[in-house]
Every structure is written in structure tokens, then in C-alpha cells.
């Protein structure tokens, strides 16, 4: 076991995947020589050479589009989008091609690519370095959208995303990249390139995880708001004697409907928390699923604590925009006191 942060965990996963399967290639802006602006791809160039770890021109449609072509040929590209909002020039390639290649080829040639996107606010960056664009991809049939919140999940999920034949949008919560260390096993959970062993893809790419036990309120969240939500749950326990169950969704498409039903039904009250804007966000879908399926088990309508339907602000105001422990606490009390 080794204690690693999320950056190191992702880096370890990428090393493991590239070692196991020489079809895996890494491409993006500044991923090779500098190892990425967040250093997630550090060391890969030295280890695997400049054929497989490539600093590309600064053009996201070119990055995603050429990654699709490489996948059509038979490689397994992992493309880095340097910051969340930089994905927009590559949006057409993702939506009209990556997401549709399997469908368009009788299921025989999916665009087997992973698009890593460091996303979200709280890191005091200039405009368009802090967006949470996950809903755009959740709303695009043909994509899988996942988001780890712990180092252990980050490593397992990047391996599973590379192994998965379908295109995976891999949202990386950059605010908690280095937030803490976690012991992870030295050996990978499975070897990339050996098919889908023991349901690993299913386990790591479509299942939610209970991050804190509790029976009085279910709070669904993912990414950088998971630790904040756990803090809010501790505060609820201290100050309100309420035990909130925190569910880390991990997979945003497909959603783990059974985990959502179970937690909402057992806790009878539910709240969804995310950084992305509220309207048609992931929270809207989770709320809708709960109301459609277990409404009669509920004591209150499902609440939401989210970013707002406004551009992510200049960073002097980002703490006003982002869900905080206090906002989550207040949102939880509203559901509890309904």
C-alpha cells in the first residue's frame, strides 16, 4: 500500500495502463515534456517515449478528432483537455463523432477514447478555468461520464475508463487533486487489455458509493463537493443530531438508479449537491428519478444545492457561487424542516 493524492493516483493508473497495453497513447497540450499543467501525466514521456506520449498543437477539435481516428485504427487514446472550458472547441467532435461512432458502425468500432477534463472552481483562476460542463455530456447519448472524488477511485476508474470500449468523459475535480492522501494497493485491480475481468468495468464505471453512513437524509453528490458534503454531514450530526448518508455518484451517465432509489427510500429525505449550474443539471435528473420512483417514501421534496444559472464568476466571487459547507448545511435543514 502507498499513500497517494489524486494526481499521483491518476498518474499511477496511467503508468499501469500504458505498461499493460501498448495500444494506450496519451495526447494533449503540454502533457509530455511538462507532464501536464497539473502533472497528471508526469514521467510518461520518459517511460514510454514520444510516439505514445505526445504534446499536440493547441487545438481541441484536432486533439479529440485525431484521437477518434487513432481509436478507429485500433489504439486506445487518452486525451487531456487542459481545463474544463477548453473542451468547447472540441465539443462537436465529442458529440457528433465520439458519441456516435459505435452506433454508426453497428457497434463494431466504438470510439474507444478517454477524454480527461480537469474541471471546477475553487482554485482562483482566470475566466473559463473553473466550469463544470458535465451536464452537456450527460445529455449526449453514447458517452459515459464519470467523476472520482478519492485517489483510490481515481486510479481504479481511469483504468476502467481506458478498458471500456465506449468513449468516457473523465471529469477530474481539480480542486481536490492534492487535497489529501489515501492508501491504495500497489497492484492494479485488473490488467488493462484483458477484456472486462470480473465485472470491473461495471463496478468502477457505473456504481455509486456510500461515502458516509446515515439514515435521516440522503445527500447525493460527486467530485469536489463530496468532501464538503461529508463536512456538512458532520456538522448536521454535531448541531442537529441528524445522520446524513452521503452518496458519491461517481458515474453521472449511466446513473446508479438502484443506489439512488435505495438511499432516498431508506432516508425518506434527499438533497443533491453539485457545482454545475442548477437548471437541467445532474441534480435535476437525480431529483426526477427519485420523484418518479419512490415519491411515496418521501417526507419532503428533493432539495438542491448547486452552482447558479450564471457564468462562473471572476474568482473574487467564486466562493459566493460554489456550494459551501454552510450552503449544504442550510439546504439540508430546509429539506429536514419541510
Amino acid at each position: 500500500m502507498t499513500a497517494v493524492n489524486m494526481v499521483e493516483a491518476l498518474n499511477k493508473g496511467l503508468h499501469e495502463a500504458m505498461t499493460a497495453d501498448d495500444r494506450v497513447v496519451v495526447l494533449g497540450e503540454d502533457v509530455a515534456k511538462t507532464g501536464g499543467v497539473f502533472r497528471v501525466t508526469a514521467g510518461l514521456l520518459d517511460r514510454f517515449g514520444d510516439d505514445r506520449v505526445v504534446d499536440t498543437p493547441l487545438a481541441e477539435a484536432g486533439i479529440v478528432g485525431s484521437a477518434i481516428g487513432m481509436a478507429v485504427y485500433g489504439l486506445l487514446p487518452v486525451a487531456e483537455i487542459q481545463f474544463d472550458s477548453f473542451v468547447y472547441p472540441g465539443f462537436e467532435q465529442i458529440v457528433v463523432h465520439a458519441a456516435r461512432y459505435a452506433w454508426r458502425t453497428k457497434g463494431e468500432v466504438p470510439a474507444s477514447i478517454v477524454i480527461r477534463i480537469p474541471y471546477g472552481g475553487g482554485v482562483r483562476m482566470p475566466e473559463l478555468h473553473s466550469d463544470s460542463p458535465e451536464s452537456l455530456f450527460v445529455h449526449t447519448p453514447g458517452l459515459k461520464v464519470v467523476c472520482p472524488s478519492t485517489p483510490a477511485d481515481a486510479r481504479n476508474m481511469i483504468l476502467a475508463a481506458i478498458e471500456d470500449p465506449d468513449p468516457v468523459i473523465f471529469m477530474e475535480p481539480k480542486r481536490i487533486y492534492r487535497a489529501g492522501r489515501q492508501e491504495i494497493p500497489d497492484e492494479p485491480p485488473f490488467t488493462v487489455g484483458n477484456g472486462s475481468p470480473n465485472g470491473a468495468l461495471n463496478e468502477y464505471l457505473s456504481k455509486a458509493r456510500v461515502a458516509r453512513e446515515g439514515d435521516d437524509l440522503a445527500i447525493f453528490t460527486y467530485g469536489a463537493t463530496v468532501p464538503l458534503t461529508i463536512d456538512a454531514a458532520e456538522k448536521l450530526a454535531r448541531e442537529e443530531r441528524v445522520e446524513a448518508r452521503v452518496v458519491d455518484l461517481r458515474s453521472l451517465y449511466p446513473l446508479d438508479v438502484h443506489a439512488i432509489e435505495k438511499a432516498a427510500s431508506e432516508c425518506r429525505r434527499a438533497l443533491v449537491v453539485h457545482e454545475a449550474p442548477r437548471t437541467a443539471g445532474v441534480g435535476a435528473e437525480v431529483s426526477s428519478l427519485i420523484h418518479e420512483r419512490v415519491m411515496l417514501d418521501l417526507e419532503a421534496p428533493v432539495g438542491r444545492v448547486t452552482g447558479y444559472d450564471a457564468p462562473f464568476p471572476q474568482f473574487a466571487n467564486e466562493d459566493d457561487y460554489l456550494p459551501s459547507v454552510d450552503r449544504i448545511f442550510a439546504g439540508a435543514k430546509k429539506v429536514l424542516e419541510f
Binding site: 498543437p57 485525431s66 462537436e92 459505435a102 463494431e108 468500432v109 474507444s112 465506449d166 449511466p254
Partner: protein, 373 residues
């Protein structure tokens, strides 16, 4: 302006050029066979649309040289990526013609799609220029794997305004991929003439900005199209990187079966260009050299007609796809839980009546009676 490469003259004041040594007589006949097959498919597809047996169709009548000539220059291992204008190119590589027709009939799944790896032919790409980065990616992957495979993508003059064209050109030249960017400059993007598409003198000159060769070729001359493509592929295979080819021609026909060019251009101009169309021109060239006689030509045309007729029969034998096809192959890894729920929901109500192609559209403003074109 760089010179336009041409081999086939007009049998009068414009003399024929040298046929490249690699093209034997049997190659010229085979190339002619390809031209005829493409032409036959296109004409039949238009008729099928008129009869309401397929949907809106994008014609390529007159552009067969840019397709057959370029493809004939490719090796079997080379990948080609068509836009919708080259929709039938796969039939020259083994994609069933009935599959292409089924695509235009609105069928998906196993009926209207194919596996690109089977024949190294990409899917029909509807959005403009977005398949160019895929062609670059394929050649890049082949380079990484040290395989002898190049890529070629066709696109129109309008596509050169799209960002993906420029990103693909830049990636290919920086990464030195063996990629041929084959631009069919037919001078029209629906109603937009090339003069409103760009202020550059030629499309070929755009290659200069990317540090790659730019070549102009007569887009109605299949042998010239073969020659410039073969040269580009040879250079690419030897590590020389990509080439931009501008095949200068003219869109003699409407953009598609729903388009009426009388609304935006003088059709006398397209009549002028029609005299240069490649199938007749190639036939005359082969006759001048006594490579082709009437009987042979008749046989080639009859075979093409038979192949396409069989394809129509095969297409029409396909049963209307079931509702399950909505969810087939969206994910290669299997269906997410909500697909089964969606199908259950669909099955709870009576199925809508079978969708038929709409048949020939009437174009408002096309004439006193809103005539079809």
C-alpha cells in the same frame, strides 16, 4: 497560381498528356469501370428518390473522377474517409451498394451502416470537415504502429472554411502523417459560390501556410486525379508528410435532390461544364487510344446497371427495422438500464405507421407551379 495537372485532352485543340507508366491498359479499363459504376449508382439513386423509394439524396454526378481516380491510387491498406458527396465510394471497396442505398432510405444499424475496418472506408460523414481529423488520426496511429497505411479524406470547397479543416491540416503537417487532403472544389456550397467562401486565389495555396505541398488537378480527369494522389501517397509513405490536393471542377448538378440551383445561379454555366464530365471524357480518351470499343463499353455499363439493380432489390427486401434499433449499438459495452425501460415504454402504445421517404419535394419559388427539380 500553380498549374492544373491534366492528362486527358479534348480530342481537338487540347492534346492528351502522357499516361503514367504504372497505369496499364487493364488499369485504365478498370478505372473506367469504376467511373461507370459510380455514375450508374448516382443516377439510379436520384430516380429512386423521385419515386419515393429513398429519402433526400446528395448527388455527385460529374465528380466521379475525383472519387475513382483518387481511390484507384490507394493501396488496399490505405484508409479513405468520405463526406456525404462520396457516399457510394465504399462500393468500390466491397461495401454492399444496398447498404449505401439503405442509408439513404433512412435505415440504420446493420442495414445502413458498415464496419470501417472491414474495407478501410470511413462512415458517410454528414457534418462538414469533421472527418478530416479522423483521417489524420488513422495515419498517425499507423505511423506509431509502423504500419504501411496512409489515409485520404474527401471534402468540398466549403469545408476549407471550417476550423476542423485547419486543425487537421496543422496536425498532419506537424506530426508528418501520411494523409492526403483531397478537396473537390466544385465551386459551390449549396448556393454559396467559392468567391464568397474565401478570398484566397486558390485552395491549393492554403497548403503553403501548413508547410505542405498543394497541388491543383483537373477534377474531371480521372487519370490526373490518380496521378496526383499516387504522388502524394508515395511522398507520405516516404515520410514526406501530408499533401493538399485541389481538384478543380464544377458542381454540374444541384447540391441534393431538395435543392434548386435556378434560384441562385445561371444554369447556362453548368451546361458549359457538363461537356467536361468525366465518364464520357474518359470513354472518348480510351477510344482515341483504341483501348475501349462499343461492345466493351456496353458490357461495362450493363454490368454496372445489373449490380445497382440487384442492390435496389436487396435494399427493398429489408424489412422495416423494429423499434429496438433505436437502442442498438449506442454503447458497445452493453445497454444501460434506462434503455430497457424506454423500450418498455415504447411497447405500451401502438407503433406509429411505417415511415416512408417523402418523395420528390416541391420547392417554393421554383416556378409557377412550385415544380420539382
Amino acid at each position: 497560381m500553380s498549374e492544373i495537372v491534366r492528362v486527358i485532352g479534348n480530342g481537338a485543340d487540347l492534346a492528351d498528356g502522357e499516361v503514367p507508366n504504372e497505369l496499364a491498359e487493364k488499369d485504365l479499363i478498370e478505372l473506367f469501370r469504376w467511373l461507370v459504376l459510380l455514375r450508374t449508382f448516382d443516377e439510379r439513386a436520384v430516380a429512386l428518390q423521385r419515386q419515393g423509394r429513398i429519402g433526400t439524396y446528395a448527388l455527385y454526378w460529374g465528380e466521379e473522377a475525383t472519387q475513382a481516380g483518387a481511390l484507384y491510387a490507394c493501396e488496399d491498406a490505405d484508409w479513405v474517409f468520405p463526406s456525404y458527396r462520396q457516399n457510394a465510394i465504399g462500393i468500390l471497396r466491397g461495401v454492399p451498394a444496398s447498404t449505401v442505398l439503405a442509408w439513404w432510405r433512412g435505415y440504420g444499424g446493420t442495414h445502413g451502416f458498415w464496419n470501417p475496418r472491414d474495407h478501410r472506408v470511413g462512415p458517410i460523414t454528414v457534418p462538414i470537415a469533421t472527418h478530416l481529423p479522423h483521417a489524420v488520426g488513422v495515419a498517425w496511429a499507423a505511423k506509431i504502429r509502423k504500419d504501411r497505411a496512409s489515409s485520404l479524406a474527401w471534402f468540398g470547397d466549403g469545408a476549407t472554411s471550417e476550423g476542423d479543416f485547419h486543425e487537421a491540416m496543422n496536425f498532419a503537417s506537424v506530426l508528418k502523417t501520411s494523409t492526403v487532403f483531397f478537396c473537390v472544389n466544385n465551386q459551390w456550397a449549396i448556393s454559396t459560390p467559392i468567391s464568397k467562401q474565401m478570398a484566397s486565389e486558390t485552395i491549393a495555396q492554403k497548403a503553403v501556410a501548413y508547410g505542405m505541398p498543394g497541388v491543383r488537378v483537373d477534377g474531371f480527369d480521372p487519370i490526373a486525379c490518380w496521378k496526383v494522389t499516387r504522388d502524394a501517397l508515395e511522398r507520405g509513405r516516404q515520410g514526406g508528410g501530408p499533401t493538399l490536393i485541389e481538384a478543380y471542377c464544377y458542381r454540374i448538378m444541384p447540391h441534393g435532390t431538395a435543392d434548386d440551383p435556378r434560384l441562385y445561379r445561371d444554369e447556362a454555366e453548368s451546361e458549359h461544364w457538363r461537356a467536361l464530365e468525366p465518364v464520357g471524357r474518359m470513354a472518348e480518351f480510351l477510344r482515341r487510344r483504341s483501348i475501349l470499343d462499343d461492345a466493351q463499353e456496353e458490357q461495362i455499363r450493363a454490368e454496372a446497371k445489373q449490380l445497382v439493380a440487384q442492390a435496389v432489390t436487396d435494399m427493398e427486401a429489408i424489412a422495416h427495422p423494429g423499434q429496438e434499433i433505436l437502442f442498438d449499438h449506442v454503447y458497445a459495452s452493453g445497454r444501460p438500464w434506462n434503455f430497457d425501460e424506454a423500450l418498455d415504454e415504447l411497447h405500451q402504445v401502438e407503433r406509429p405507421a411505417e415511415v416512408k421517404p417523402l418523395g420528390p419535394p416541391t420547392t417554393p419559388g421554383a416556378g409557377e407551379e412550385g415544380k420539382t427539380i
